[in-house]
Amino acid sequence: MNWKLKDYRFWCLSLALLANLALFAFPTRRQAGEVYNLTFVIDITRSMNAEDYRLDDQPVSRLAFVKHSLRELLGKLPCQSKIGLGVFTERRSTLLFEPVEVCSAYTELASSIDHLDWRMAWAADSRIAGGLLDAMQLLQERDSALIFVSDGQEAPPLNPRYRTDFSAIKGKLKGMIIGAGGLRAVAIPKFDRNGKRVGVYGPDDVPHRSSFGESDLNPEKIEGYDARNAPFGKQAAVGSEHLSALREGYLQQLALETGLQYRRLSDAAVLAEAVRMPEFALPAAVETDVRRYYAVLVLLLLLAIFI
């Protein structure tokens, strides 16, 4: 074959073929993306039944609103992100499932979120600090950020003398406390043992102060104090513990003690926005298809032959 025959058409065609082979050799390119690994622990104690949110102009309970926000969040997280779910009641948190990938398990996650119910609670107290500590310990050795959703109402009320000590775990994991509820105190619905709603909790239904251990006050200041028989005094406690509002100050204090962030769930979009903070983002390599760039090159080279 004559050397002169290797004209530009030959080179175009050869290059096109080479580019096409390169297309098969390197079809994807790694790109840096951000994904999230979040474990939600939701407060399912009774006070979460208080109805101080509105959805579609209907009053809904705090729990229902949290569920609604979670479902909104599901659709907004990038694929490869993972969500785990747990619940908190009494002084314990438990995981329902470990984090699962959001895109492939969207329907399963949505269904599990829908089925969150205050009736899942295995005991009735609401020791938030204890539940938070428990949740933090559960997640301590995992690569998942904790999102703890609560309204901050301890029931029965906390004795300031006995506080949960977070110092051992402070700063060991990333996370956020989400405050759910309104700032105005509202009544907490009451249900009978068959799940039928029977009015609301009244002042006589709940303890208004802690009667555990010793009082944190100076005994001389307590009226009717008796070290053995009446360590909290003889007066009956009065209070408004039967009403519930978001105890934001308390949750912020807990956030400070645990090294977590704090955000208030003021509307449904807040959750999706709050948890996608840079601190929680994990770098992920996303393989993107780059074959089309090669293909355009091949096409141009091939067309050049016919000019």
Binding site: L5, F24, L95, E98, H115
Partner: protein
């Protein structure tokens, strides 16, 4: 419905480019004094046409590839062996003990799903690890799930109250995540009737086909009050389930089949396991109880269930979207190789 689709349909306009070889030959021309003098050469003309067709096809293949040709996600109905299984797992605190009724010694052997380190466990290094009942259940159920390719599996848990964990799903990763989460410390007491009611509710709105299985894994039972008992009887009848009870018996505790030595003990409070067994037997549904005193016996029971539940089941298997652009690019490469071959055969008219 056509299964063929394109990611970027507008790119198909590029198909017009495939017409280019029709009016440009893409070959070197040689000057010749008088074309009419050339003898007719059908072979040359055929080769010429062929080369042009090949070039057109190559261009078209590239354009189709660029427009992201693919087959849509489809589902085909298959008949396989499988079942709809709801696992009802006991999360009462006794599940965290070993079969000998002790707190497990050593750490668990890391074979449980995910190998999550359990917290709050005495780490007597070097001692023979004694698996807790929950860890054994977790390990064996994970294996079971891996075996059952075509099953839909749902998970519910119960202690004092029932926990809805994962709906009936074929997503293995989700099921494994739910089973792995039972590594977190167990909860409170045993309230089996609510757990059963929740597990049965998984089958609502699920077409009755194949076999429906309720697999109860527990290490104890509790008396069921008469109201719940009546409700459960109706539910079991309605849902047409087959019930398997995997009872993890702790040493020295009365088993399912133990008969009371003393007639005064013959009541639901003293022997809840026996009474639950009687209740299940009286339901007139297919029911099988297994009593396992160690992980080995439990494995046998699970293998037995695996073998029994192989009824034919119609299920729809989703065939994910199939990308065809790779095929297009490959075709283009072959066609261009042909063109290059033709090019190399080109001879110069002197």
């Amino acid at each position: 419905m056509s299964a063929l689709a394109f990611e970027t349909p507008w790119a198909l306009a590029g198909l017009l480019l495939a017409l280019l070889p029709l009016w440009r030959s893409g070959m070197q021309t040689a000057a010749y004094p008088w074309l009419a003098m050339l003898p007719p050469d059908p072979l040359s003309q055929a080769v010429m046409l062929l080369i042009r067709l090949v070039a057109m096809a190559a261009i078209a293949a590239l354009v189709l590839g660029l427009s992201g040709m693919h087959l849509r996600e489809q589902s085909v109905e298959r008949i396989g062996h499988g079942a709809h299984i709801v696992m009802l797992l006991d999360r009462s605190s006794s599940m965290d003990n070993s079969f000998a009724g002790k707190a497990p010694s050593g750490s668990d052997d890391g074979r449980d799903a995910g190998g999550i380190p359990k917290r709050a466990q005495g780490s007597t290094q070097g001692a023979v690890a004694e698996e807790s009942k929950a860890a054994a259940a977790r390990r064996l159920l994970t294996e079971f799930v891996d075996h059952r390719d075509h099953d839909l599996i749902g998970i519910a848990e119960y202690s004092t109250s029932p926990l809805f964990v994962m709906p009936l799903t074929g997503n293995r990763a989700a099921i494994h995540a739910a089973i792995a989460a039972t590594a977190t410390p167990a909860l409170a007491y045993t309230n089996i009737s609510k757990g059963l009611a929740m597990a049965l509710s998984f089958f609502d709105r699920q077409a009755v086909q194949g076999s429906r299985i309720l697999l109860l894994v527990s290490d104890g039972a509790a008396a069921i009050d008469p109201d719940s008992e009546a409700a459960l009887r109706i539910l079991f009848k309605q849902q047409q389930v087959r019930l398997y009870w995997l009872f993890l018996r702790t040493d020295n505790s009365p088993g399912i089949f133990a008969q009371p030595d003393d007639p005064r003990d013959d009541n639901a409070q003293a022997m809840p396991e026996l009474y639950l067994h009687r209740f299940f037997s009286s339901l007139r549904i297919p029911y099988q109880a297994y009593e396992a005193e160690n992980p080995g016996a439990m494995q046998k029971a699970i293998a037995d269930i695996d073998r029994l539940e192989q009824l034919p089941l119609h299920y729809r298997e989703a065939i994910p979207k199939q990308d065809l652009s790779g095929l297009c690019y490959g075709l283009a490469a072959v066609l261009m190789a042909l063109l290059l071959g033709a090019k190399l055969c080109e001879a110069r008219m002197a």
